[in-house]
Symmetry: C2
Subunit: 234 residues, 2 copies
DNA sequence: TTTTTGTATTCTGCATGCAAAGTTTATAGG
DNA sequence: CCTATAAACTTTGCATGCAGAATACAAAAA
């Protein structure tokens, strides 16, 4: 499933129907993650509230939320800006994600339902298709979906949620930095191996593969940042 | 209970030159973590705002924040309640913390400054002192401080922050559930071994010890929950 | 007595007003 | 022409008012 689960921990509560304005907040999150709002951009309450069609109060609540996710920075008495992409912070985030992926791989192999693995397999083929068509946007979507579904498949909601939140920040870089063709091909091969290990429920091998995959991803992401391919607002 | 002594709250909120309301929000977090507000308690906006000496708007922002930390649950159109202590959720949280502690142990041994290790060692002796005096409250404080300092010593801010947030929920259980004398003594011995491994910068051993320590802690916490030693509001 | 339905009350969620902090612009002095 | 300073403007942070949802209560029906 490609639909982004937008929720924070709060959303795990028994919710029948979400407040109307959370849609607007999710839209703001997407604007930041997809790079339409550049790092460093000031987020004027009145203007942004107008653009999103909500009032300042729920928007302010959204700022606080997005700040905990590391997507915006709150400057006392000077409002909010889109959080900068600090390479060191990204590196640290990826290190934590590595620790989580190790657990994810272990748990997923041990206790993921067959249906979940089948779905991930399906997403993998979709991703292969996107790669064959050189459709980078679709590739990214399926890639994300695979990793998030894998996190879900581990059967630990806290683990999946934590992983997702950390991922949001890294995702911003991916959206802004294209991969080199070689790296793209290599990433696909890595995913092939990952899927094979998952299907075989070989936890030890999956952990190693995920760790290697993340190391490559880290290098790629940090290289993109170092090359200043990532733009920031003045 | 909060409702029993509303005046103490008002008195403990000193009027700052600039009404910085984050102090009030921290106070609310403490009330939840320390169990003065029982799981399941409804958090009436107007009442609570009055007790904390702030207005509803910043309090609502606090609710959203605490929801991401898993300390309150937001029920659409029905406000906020203190989050329930779901044993399965606590178990999942502890599993994630285990993965993080493995990384913490590894990084701390590899790159913690000597001063940080010395400080942890000092806290450890303070904790031993509290244990010798059977001062449970002080013991918990030093125990927390040790684990949090260890997380900081790993030199990864994202790691430390993530660990701290997950820890908040587990801490609530510790505050409410006393340890058995045997478990208490065993925990202290485990800490002795942990400190020894850290001082020797033996990452492999530290990881194993932390893992074992957490497993014991998990058993103890879940036992407390199972024995219904943890109270919840109706 | 128990269940149901209509009504009153309470509470949340959002919009908006206001004071203070911050920013920009204009002006005077060097 | 450049710098310093003050006035005007902008924006945030918080308080509060209002509409609608949810709950509690009461009376009527089974």
């Amino acid at each position: 499933m490609l639909t982004d689960s937008p929720s924070s921990l709060a959303a795990s509560a028994p919710i029948a129907r979400r407040p109307l304005h959370e849609a607007a907040i999710d839209r703001l999150r997407d604007l930041i993650v997809q790079g339409e709002l550049l790092p460093g951009s000031r987020l004027n309450e009145r203007v942004l509230a107008g653009q999103l069609g909500i009032s300042r109060t729920p928007l302010r609540e959204a700022f606080k939320l997005l700040a905990t996710e590391g997507l915006v920075e709150l400057l006392p008495n000077r409002g909010a800006i889109v959080a900068h992409l600090d390479p060191e912070r990204i590196r640290q985030t990826l290190a934590v994600m590595g620790a989580l992926e190790a657990l994810i791989g272990e748990l997923a192999c041990k206790q993921a339902p067959e249906a979940a693995i089948a779905e991930i397999q399906a997403l993998h083929f979709e991703m292969r298709a996107a790669h064959a068509r050189r459709d980078l946007a679709a590739y990214f979507r399926y890639n994300q979906a695979i990793h998030l579904n894998l996190a879900e498949a581990a059967g630990n909601a806290v683990l999946a949620l934590t992983y997702r939140q950390l991922n949001a920040n890294v995702r911003r870089v991916r959206y802004m930095a294209n991969l080199s063709p070689e790296r793209w091909d290599a990433a696909v091969r890595e995913h092939d191996a990952i899927l094979a290990a998952l299907s075989a429920r070989d936890g030890t091998r999956l952990k190693a593969l995920l760790s290697d995959h993340l190391a490559q991803k880290t290098a790629s992401v940090l290289a993109a940042l170092a090359e200043r391919r990532i733009m920031a607002a003045a």
